[in-house]
Amino acid sequence: MTGPAAGARRTAAAALGLALAAALAGCGGGGGGGDDRPELSVSGAYVPQPPTPDMAAGYVTVTNKGGAADRLTSVTTPLAAEVTMHTTIGTRMKRVASLKVPADGELRLATGGDHLMLTNLTHKPKVGDKVSLTLHFASSDPIEIKVPVEPTTYRPKD
């Protein structure tokens, strides 16, 4: 079930990525490529509109075209006092200190899997708003993106 859909999904993610491209100026992944270091780009990011004003989820896909892995170590945003990273294994949802971005691969946050949890929000974000997120990595430079707020039931097309 992953085969043909994968390409389409990647395309959709890439399209979303284009929309965000202006925000990617901080991307440290450019500069042509040795195989020995990560080359990161971010796409498909969104925050679903939360039902309560105190917390929200966040999703991004970090693509790594480089030959070395990296780790997403923290995320910051003016919207929330704290952003934590969570992973879901089986039915167990737990907080983690970092998430791996594999070499020549991607870290894909999504509903029911790895996700960001934004807590102590300054206000309740609404559909149409943009949320600024800065992704910090173990070795790459931080990447700042502007993320759309989508309806609570939004699912990226795949």
């Binding site: 679903p48 039915t91 509903t111 949890m117």
Partner: protein, 221 residues
């Protein structure tokens, strides 16, 4: 990577789903027995899982968001009912599930919508006050949803025979909270008040909208 991710997402949706999808990858060991009662080997992700052997509605008496006693069996007798065990400090799947139902429910004709009971039972009674649950449900189109809280053990005992995994949120040494919970929506027929259908986090609002008119009549979707 992608396969791993998808696998994880499905496992999250429910071990039940996995089995129904033809079972790649396993859930936790203790879920296997639950899966055994699920019919068919070809249920698509998000489609209703129709149980071969319907399960009784749990005898559950809790407190609703008005602070009133709510007897699930009595209040939902003869009514199509969806029950979801979740918690409001769950920005990931819980609000997605409730919002999907909230959207679908509004597409029903009023008479049918009035019949349908959507019941949210907290698995985190320590943090989910009636007031918080009310604003959380209202915030995702569930103004007519019932929110229930009460004693954790009572809630867990009601979920268990339905095959829904409910554990107490666990506070880790670093202050973070680990939560282990099933995320299935349990559907009860108005005909016999039994649980015939199970939905997962994969179920979209469109899918619910397609199925609800049938569930309201007690028909398999």
């Amino acid at each position: 990577m992608r396969t791993t991710y998808l696998g994880a997402a499905l496992v999250t949706a429910a071990a039940l789903t996995l089995t129904a999808c033809g079972g790649s990858g396993g859930g936790d060991g203790d879920k296997a027995e639950q899966a055994a009662e699920v019919s068919g080997g070809n249920t698509k992700p998000g489609h209703a899982i129709v149980l071969d052997r319907p399960k009784a509605k749990p005898d559950l008496v809790l407190t609703d968001t008005d602070g009133k006693k709510y007897d699930l069996v009595k209040e939902t007798k003869g009514r199509p009912t969806l029950v979801y065990f979740g918690y409001t400090y769950c920005p990931d799947v819980c609000s997605l599930v409730m919002s999907n139902i909230g959207i679908a429910e509004k597409k029903l004709p009023k008479a049918e919508r009035d019949k349908l009971q959507v019941v949210f039972v907290t698995t985190d009674p320590a943090r989910d006050t009636p007031k918080r649950m009310r604003s959380w449900l209202d915030g995702q189109g569930g103004k007519d949803f019932v929110g229930l809280t009460g004693d954790f053990d009572t809630i867990q005992a009601a979920a268990r025979p339905l095959g829904i995994l409910v554990e107490k949120p666990k506070k880790e040494k670093d202050g973070s909270i680990t939560v282990n919970h099933g995320a299935e929506v349990v559907g009860f027929s108005p005909k016999d008040d039994k649980n015939h259908w199970i939905y997962t986090t994969e179920t979209t609002a469109d899918q619910y909208a397609k199925d609800l008119p049938k569930l309201v009549k007690g028909q398999n979707p």
